[in-house]
Symmetry: C2
Subunit: 342 residues, 2 copies
């Protein structure tokens, strides 16, 4: 890259570097004529102030890091959208790294971001993350940190979450209200807090309705994929031919279940009622349309950025900052997969 310096502009115009700098910043003690020639020449030379130099002075990079499990994912891509939109409005850039649900990669990516001197980090943990050392490193370096969706309860930082337990309770209750008595839960992996909470919500709803909890009715995803949904659907019907309701940890898995049921002609909702989680776009276009839990993903991104910015600003001004947890509301979206029109 060609680096045009203030000095080159100054030399070409036969004026001092200070005058060039003042002209570019619009200081009033530079004549209009001089300012115009400086601006013109700067433009024709494609001059931009050296942002690394600026960084050294202000210690700000105006860049934040975002660590997510994967980009190709309805929920996460919507969160990214919210974060990038807000960052743009506030003149920040966003470096996005993927952990691919791997703890080792998550640790490496965070180190890269820290070396890059980002002003703050937003993260949703990988499914493997059960070790918090790399997160404590962020705090030890006094870098503002915000977690969303897949969080660690042990790390003291701002968080944007939904009440997964309550939302899962409502989803299960919705199946019970529509007559289900033998309800399978396809849960997320063992580590993530949100998978644990959704499982607990399912269990609580059964309890409250005096339906005995049966651990054989709980299937645990490894990768939370469409294919896992299909495989579990086949297994569920073999294990429990009389199942009448399924609550899946996310829509992608529920759509896999539906795909298998459609193939082998098991009627949804007549024989089995089905509800997902997260309201992926495709859930409204499949047949039958999938009932689900609406999770405000874009808003989650917006709020995560705001919390991060509050903390970044507080630190910049050496003001105290109290970490916060924002809980966003969810709601049940009733579609065709979970109730029979009488």
């Amino acid at each position: 890259m060609k680096d045009i310096t203030l000095k080159e502009i100054a030399t070409k115009l036969g004026i001092s570097i200070t005058t060039v700098s003042k002209a570019l910043k619009g200081y009033p003690d530079v004549s209009e004529k001089t300012r115009n020639s400086v601006l013109e020449l700067a433009k024709s030379l494609h001059f931009t102030p050296n942002s690394f130099a600026v960084n050294l002075r202000t210690k700000e990079s105006r860049t934040i890091g975002l660590v997510i499990p994967e980009v190709v994912h309805h929920f996460f891509s919507n969160v990214i959208n919210g974060i990038i939109d807000e960052a743009e409005k506030n003149n920040y850039l966003v470096i996005i790294v993927q952990s691919g649900e791997s703890l080792a990669l998550e640790i490496k990516q965070i180190e890269l971001l820290l070396n890059k001197r980002v002003d703050g980090i937003i993260i949703s943990l990988s499914n493997e993350s059960n070790d918090d050392e790399h997160l404590r490193q962020i705090l030890a370096r006094e870098i503002p940190l915000v977690m969303f969706d897949k969080i660690s309860k042990l790390i003291k930082c701002s968080k944007v979450i939904i009440n997964d337990q309550k939302a899962a309770f409502e989803a299960t209750q919705h199946l019970i209200d529509n007559g289900c008595k033998k309800i399978v839960h396809i849960r997320g992996p063992v580590n993530p807090q949100n998978a644990i909470d959704r499982f607990l919500g399912y269990k609580k709803a059964l309890e409250k309705n005096n339906i005995p909890y049966n651990s054989n009715l709980v299937y645990t995803c490894k990768n939370v994929t469409f294919d896992e949904g299909k495989e579990f659907a086949e297994k569920i019907i073999q294990d429990h031919p009389d199942v009448d309701g399924i609550f899946a940890v996310t829509d992608l898995v529920a759509v896999g279940v539906l795909d298998y049921f459609n193939k082998v002609n098991i009627k949804v909702p007549n024989q089995v009622k089905l509800i997902g989680f997260s309201n992926w776009f495709m859930s409204q276009v499949i047949t039958p349309k999938l009932s689900t839990v609406d999770q405000p993903s874009y808003e989650m991104g917006v709020q995560s950025f705001h919390l991060l910015m509050e903390e970044m600003n507080a630190r910049k001004e050496s003001k105290p900052f109290t970490i916060k947890t924002i809980e966003l509301a969810t709601s049940i979206i009733e579609r065709e997969s979970s109730f029979v029109n009488q």
Copy 2:
């Protein structure tokens, strides 16, 4: 952020800054004992080499910029995935900015990336982009540039594309081979080269099969959305009740068409055959499953990053670099929406 310097480590250990620096870099002329104490202290202080200083010296930021219309988009999120994966393997970070299909925002975002001193830029143009000045700015500053998917023919840089005209020809031919005679094309907006090329491919296939081209059978998207697909479907059936085939510029629009047809009980494929473009995930889970053109989106990201890296490396070593255009193969995926099993 707390900044730990080499000097602090040197002072604490009573050795020279040079020795600290050498110890951290693993130089053999530092005793193992000294190296160990330096590494230990550096670790306990959460020391990282100052990456901005490194940048000033090497003039490399090891960061690239990616400008795309939107993140929440099956095709683009897959390309992002390919780019981030490859960047990760090669020790680069990726700043992602969205143009939101707006030329003004695209211009602004590119300026931000240039000010950030990214080592290179990968871009897919917004639908509004018909002015190339901001792209010429990138070249004028000698920043490596790669375009993919939505490109400008006027800008001389490396490109990763598919043959949109050929792919659209094949999609239309597929409908004709399955008996369609009155084929509607729902095309993309006026500006993007790929929308133009897909339209031309449609037209060529009609010509080759002696089906007269009728401009009334072409509908032009503004925003290329699911809702536009639904609206066009309603209009198409009103305007041309005898339509027997539809080729949509992308799966999202085709799924909108299908959604409307399912609602009003117009049978796909029996009454109207339908083919999309891009092979979105949902196309394989809707009813009927959507035929489409497979576009290697992940591979497009990988190749874009490789081309960019080749150019960045060439410049770093002041070697000549010849821009290239890589054309990736597409294929027709036949599913239920476009042919009737005899």
